[in-house]
């Protein structure tokens, strides 16, 4: 038996969402519609719990300062602590890795000419923990752990040059080949996080582009290879300076079967909500058929 990719999950990773959960505010009128949009995804995940989630996110000046700026960094450790981003670490479980699968993916894609950085020690910030919280809820105190192993995959979208959509898409295809050549019986999901439209800086802060975001979701489902050709400047102009995070969704999307010539995935959930703090929240689940 070999490992297989069963689904991809896409979600924004706004820090205020984590704070709302940690402070018990999820039923407040401001937050209730957002969390309601993740209830179907939580129910779906309970039925289709993977062994491993390959989680694509970006670090926000927590694990990586300006000392070291890896374009693509794969976590090959057994465990990752929760970062103190300046407000104290989020009260969520540490993340258990999957070093064997991570090492296999690293070997496979590096030998396919993607120059990954290997990381054996790093803390993980809201970019990784907020998607886990949104999809899993808060783990119970008497079983305080995430329900699957996680391979963190950090992409530099903070300091330019950031990788192109085209490069992210090709990398996702290589990750699929890597997972499918791993000789253990494992269900693997690939999660792409960040976005959607938002800008956190300058006089244009607060930008939201609902039409562009929804067109992005449409194309991510139906025309991901075409979407991968969109240049950076369009993300920044249309979706805000921090909207560039959406290139990470292309890695997860390209790991699905249809991109490799297989059947199109089923859309198990699609949700869009404005605002969470400064940000438009998008969420999609694509299930292999």
């Amino acid at each position: 038996m070999m490992a297989r990719i069963t689904a991809s999950v896409f979600t924004s990773h706004v820090p205020a969402i984590g704070a709302a959960m940690d402070l018990g505010k999820t039923r407040e009128p401001y937050w209730q519609p957002l969390f309601a949009g993740y209830e179907p995804g939580r129910a779906w995940l309970r039925e289709r719990r993977p062994d491993v989630v390959f989680l694509i996110y970006n670090d926000h000046a927590n694990a990586f300062s300006l000392d070291l700026i890896p374009t693509f960094a794969i976590g090959t450790a057994a465990r990752y602590e929760i970062a103190d981003e300046g407000w104290g670490p989020r009260p969520v479980p540490a993340v258990q890795g999957h070093p064997e699968l991570a090492a296999h993916i690293a070997q496979s894609v590096i030998q396919e000419d993607f120059d990954l950085t290997l990381v054996n020690r790093m803390s993980v910030d809201h970019g990784l923990t907020v998607p886990l919280s949104l999809m899993c809820g808060q783990p119970p105190a008497d079983d305080f752990r995430w329900p699957f192993a996680v391979i963190p995959f950090a992409v530099n979208v903070v300091q330019y040059p950031v990788p192109s959509g085209r490069r992210c898409f090709a990398l996702g295809q290589a990750i699929r080949r890597a997972v499918e050549s791993f000789g253990q019986d494992l269900d693997v999901q690939v999660w792409g996080t960040g976005g959607m439209s938002h800008q956190l800086q300058g006089p244009r802060a607060g930008l939201i582009n609902r039409a562009w975001d929804n067109a992005f979701l449409d194309r991510l489902i139906a025309d991901p290879a075409g979407l991968a050709q969109v240049p950076h400047v369009e993300y920044v102009r249309e979706a805000g300076s921090e909207g560039i995070e959406l290139v990470m969704w292309l890695i997860a999307r390209a790991a699905m079967a249809d991109v490799a010539g297989g059947a199109a995935p089923r859309v198990a959930q699609r949700f869009y909500h404005v605002p969470a703090s400064n940000t438009a929240v998008g969420h999609l689940i694509l299930e292999e058929t």
């Binding site: 820090p15 300046g86 800008q199 800086q201 006089p203 244009r204 607060g206 939201i208 300076s241 921090e242």
Partner: protein
């Protein structure tokens, strides 16, 4: 050959590219130091003395003391690094982002609840509708 910067005609937006990062290296590394609780305490006890330990420009130090985030960004700061100052002050990302728009905290929050800043009139410098007063040349 200079860096290609196709993003320079986007209004009210500074892209954190290699030139900005070089300019802001010590400003951003100072911000990173605030991830330690001991350093946050030292900074809050005497901000000026703490800043003087870093090889930052006087303009950068003054921008930090003034909590002028637009100025910090113009001098090479990046919002995710500058957020460490906000965390030290107990301010949220929304309060920080709003402080750069010339809007009151309440007006910015209300704008977000109504769906955020519209894209129309905010794509190009040439058609910039939300240009704050005093920014005619940027």
């Amino acid at each position: 050959m200079p860096l290609d910067k196709p993003y320079r005609d986007i209004p009210g937006t500074t892209i954190f590219d290699a030139d900005q990062s070089r300019l802001g290296y010590w400003l951003n590394q100072f911000c990173m130091s605030l991830m330690s609780a001991a350093n946050r305490t030292r900074f809050k006890t005497d901000e000026r003395a703490y800043l003087d330990e870093w090889p930052m420009s006087e303009a950068q130090k003054q921008a930090v003391l003034d909590r002028d985030l637009n100025r910090c960004i113009a001098l090479g700061g990046n919002i995710y690094f500058l957020a460490k100052i906000g965390a030290t002050d107990g301010r949220s990302f929304q309060q920080m982002a709003g402080s750069m728009t010339g809007m009151s905290e309440e007006a910015y929050r209300d704008m977000m609840v109504r769906g955020g800043r519209a894209i129309e009139g905010n794509r190009y410098l040439s058609d910039w509708q939300d240009r704050p007063p005093g920014k005619e040349t940027e």
